[in-house]
C-alpha cells in the first residue's frame, strides 16, 4: 500500500503565485489545496489538518500572520508546519514572521525550486 502524500494548503490572493505554487507542489507529488484569503484558509483548517501551510502575509481580510497566530493557538494544529511566502523582506518583517511562529520564511520574487527544497526539508522528505 502506498503511503498518502503529504497535504499542503496554499493561501495567496495573487492568482499567478497561487497557481504557480500549486503547480510546482503537485508536480512534486503533494496533495495541494489552495485558497485566496486568510478567512478561507481558516475555514479549510477547521475541517482538515494539512501537513504544511504556505501562507502569504498580505491578504484581504485576515492577514497571513493572523492566520498563523490562530494556527499556533489551536492545539489540534500544533504539528502543522507553516511557511510564509511574502514580499515583505525587511529584517523586522522576517523577525515578526518567526516570532509569530513560522517555521520558514521565503521572500518574493521567489525561486520555485528553492521553495520546493524548503517544503521538502520542513516535511522531512528526501529529494
Amino acid at each position: 500500500m502506498t503511503p498518502a502524500q503529504p497535504s499542503i494548503l496554499v493561501a495567496d490572493d495573487d492568482p499567478d503565485i497561487r497557481e504557480l505554487v500549486v503547480f510546482k507542489l503537485e508536480q512534486a507529488g503533494f496533495d495541494v489545496h489552495s485558497v485566496a484569503d486568510g478567512n478561507a484558509a481558516l475555514e479549510v483548517l477547521t475541517d482538515s489538518t494539512p501537513d504544511l501551510v504556505v501562507l502569504d502575509v498580505m491578504m484581504p481580510g485576515l492577514s497571513g500572520l493572523d492566520v498563523l497566530r490562530q494556527i499556533r493557538a489551536e492545539q489540534r494544529l500544533e504539528t502543522v508546519k507553516v511557511l510564509l511566502l511574502t514580499a515583505r523582506a525587511r529584517d523586522t518583517d522576517v523577525d515578526d514572521g518567526y516570532t509569530t511562529g513560522a517555521d520558514d520564511y521565503v521572500t518574493k520574487p521567489f525561486s520555485p525550486r528553492e521553495l520546493l527544497h524548503r517544503v521538502n526539508t520542513l516535511l522531512g522528505r528526501g529529494r
Partner: protein, 365 residues
C-alpha cells in the same frame, strides 16, 4: 408675439431632441466600450487559457525538455501579445532560471527591441512601461539607455526606471539614482524607499557614491545614504557614520545614521548610542534604543535600563521590550523595575507580559 412664442417652442423642442440623442449616443458609447473591453478580456483569457499550463511549467522550472518554452515562443502574433502580458506579470514574481526562461519568451516575441524603442517615446506611460519591461527581462546591456530616464520630467518614468535598474543591478547607475532623489528641474524627487531599494541591489562598488551622499546638501539624499549604509549594511562606512553623527541636523537622517551604527558599529559605540537614546526627537531616540538592542552586548542592558523610566511612553516601552531581548540580565532588570513602584514599573510590566504572551503563542511555555 404669437410667432415669437412658436419659434421659442420649436427651438426648445430642437434643443431637447439634441439632448436626448446626445444622451443616447453617450450611453451607447459607454456600453459599447465596456462590452468591447469585456469581450477582449474574455478572448484574451481564452487565448492564454490554452497556454497557461505551458507558462506555469516554464515559470516553475518544470520544463526540462523545453517543450513548454518552445510552445510559448512559437505562438502567432495575435497570441504573442496576450502571452507577453501574462509572462510579464509572472516575471515580476519569480527569480532564477524560470525568470531567465520567461524573459526568453518575451525576447523571442521582439519585446526587447519594442521596449528599447519605447524608451524614447513621447508618451510617458510608454517610456515607463518600456523601462519596466527591460528591467523585468534583466537586459543588462540596456542599463545605460535606462539611466537617462532617471532625469525624466515624469516622476512615474523615473520610478519605473529606478525599479528597472534595481532588477538589472547595474551599479553604474548609482550616481544617477542619488541625483534623482534631489532633482533640479522636477519638483518631486525619486521616493527615498525606491532609491534605497535600488542602491541596496547594486554591488559593493556603490560604497563610494553612498559615502559621498552622506554629506550631500539636501537632507533627502543624506537620509537615503544613511539608510543604505544600515540596510545593506556597509561596515566600511562606520567611520563616516560616526563623523556625520556629530554634525547632522536633520532628525530623519540622524535616526537613519543611528540605526546604521547599530548595524555596523560595535562596543565602542555604546556611549554615543546611549547619548542619542536621550535625544529630544523621539524618532532619533527610538532608533538609538533599537540600535542598542541590535548591538546586543551586556553593556547594552546598562544603557537601556535608565530609559525604561523615560517620560515618553513609546520610548520607555520600546526600551523595556528591548531589554527582554537581551537575555537573563535584561529580564532581571525588568523584574526589579516591575516590583518597585515608580515610572519604570508600568513599561517593565508591559514588556514582561508581552514576552509571556509571545512565548505562550509559540507554545514555548
Amino acid at each position: 408675439m404669437a410667432t415669437q412664442t412658436v419659434v421659442a417652442a420649436q427651438l426648445l423642442s430642437v434643443v431637447l431632441w439634441v439632448l436626448v440623442w446626445a444622451t443616447i449616443f453617450l450611453l451607447a458609447l459607454i456600453l459599447g466600450s465596456r462590452a468591447g473591453r469585456l469581450w477582449r478580456e474574455r478572448r484574451d483569457r481564452q487565448l492564454i487559457g490554452e497556454l497557461r499550463p505551458a507558462m506555469l511549467a516554464v515559470a516553475s522550472g518544470e520544463d526540462e525538455d523545453s517543450a513548454a518554452l518552445s510552445q510559448l515562443t512559437t505562438v502567432t502574433r495575435r497570441r504573442a501579445r496576450v502571452v507577453d502580458h501574462a509572462v510579464s506579470a509572472m516575471l515580476s514574481k519569480v527569480k532564477g532560471e524560470p525568470a531567465r526562461a520567461l524573459a526568453q519568451v518575451l525576447r523571442s516575441h521582439g519585446r526587447s527591441s519594442w521596449a528599447l524603442r519605447g524608451l524614447n517615446s513621447k508618451r510617458s506611460i510608454r517610456r515607463a512601461y518600456a523601462a519596466w519591461t527591460l528591467g523585468l527581462m534583466r537586459e543588462r546591456e540596456s542599463g545605460s539607455k535606462i539611466i537617462p530616464l532617471l532625469q525624466d520630467r515624469s516622476i512615474d518614468v523615473v520610478v519605473a526606471a529606478a525599479r528597472a535598474l534595481t532588477l538589472i543591478g547595474d551599479s553604474k547607475a548609482a550616481r544617477a539614482v542619488v541625483r534623482a532623489v534631489a532633482p533640479r528641474r522636477r519638483p518631486r524627487g525619486l521616493p527615498s524607499w525606491v532609491a534605497v531599494e535600488c542602491l541596496c541591489a547594486f554591488d559593493e562598488s556603490v560604497t563610494t557614491v553612498v559615502l559621498e551622499a552622506t554629506a550631500h546638501p539636501r537632507p533627502s539624499v543624506r537620509h537615503v545614504a544613511a539608510t543604505v549604509i544600515g540596510t545593506r549594511p556597509l561596515p566600511r562606512a562606520a567611520p563616516m557614520v560616526r563623523e556625520r553623527l556629530g554634525v547632522e541636523e536633520d532628525p530623519r537622517t540622524l535616526a537613519s545614521l543611528v540605526a546604521a551604527l547599530g548595524r555596523i558599529g560595535g562596543a565602542t559605540d555604546l556611549p554615543v548610542l546611549s547619548r542619542f537614546a536621550q535625544h529630544p526627537d523621539e524618532t532619533v531616540a527610538l532608533a538609538a534604543v533599537d540600535a542598542l538592542e541590535g548591538i546586543g552586548l551586556h553593556s547594552s542592558v546598562e544603557a537601556l535600563a535608565p530609559l525604561v523610566a523615560d517620560s515618553r511612553p513609546r520610548l520607555s516601552e520600546r526600551a523595556a521590550v528591548a531589554l527582554t531581548e537581551l537575555g537573563p540580565q535584561g529580564r532581571e532588570r525588568l523584574l526589579a523595575f516591575a516590583n518597585a513602584p515608580g515610572p519604570a514599573e508600568l513599561p517593565a510590566t508591559y514588556a514582561l507580559q508581552l514576552t509571556a504572551m509571545r512565548s505562550a503563542t509559540r507554545g514555548l511555555d
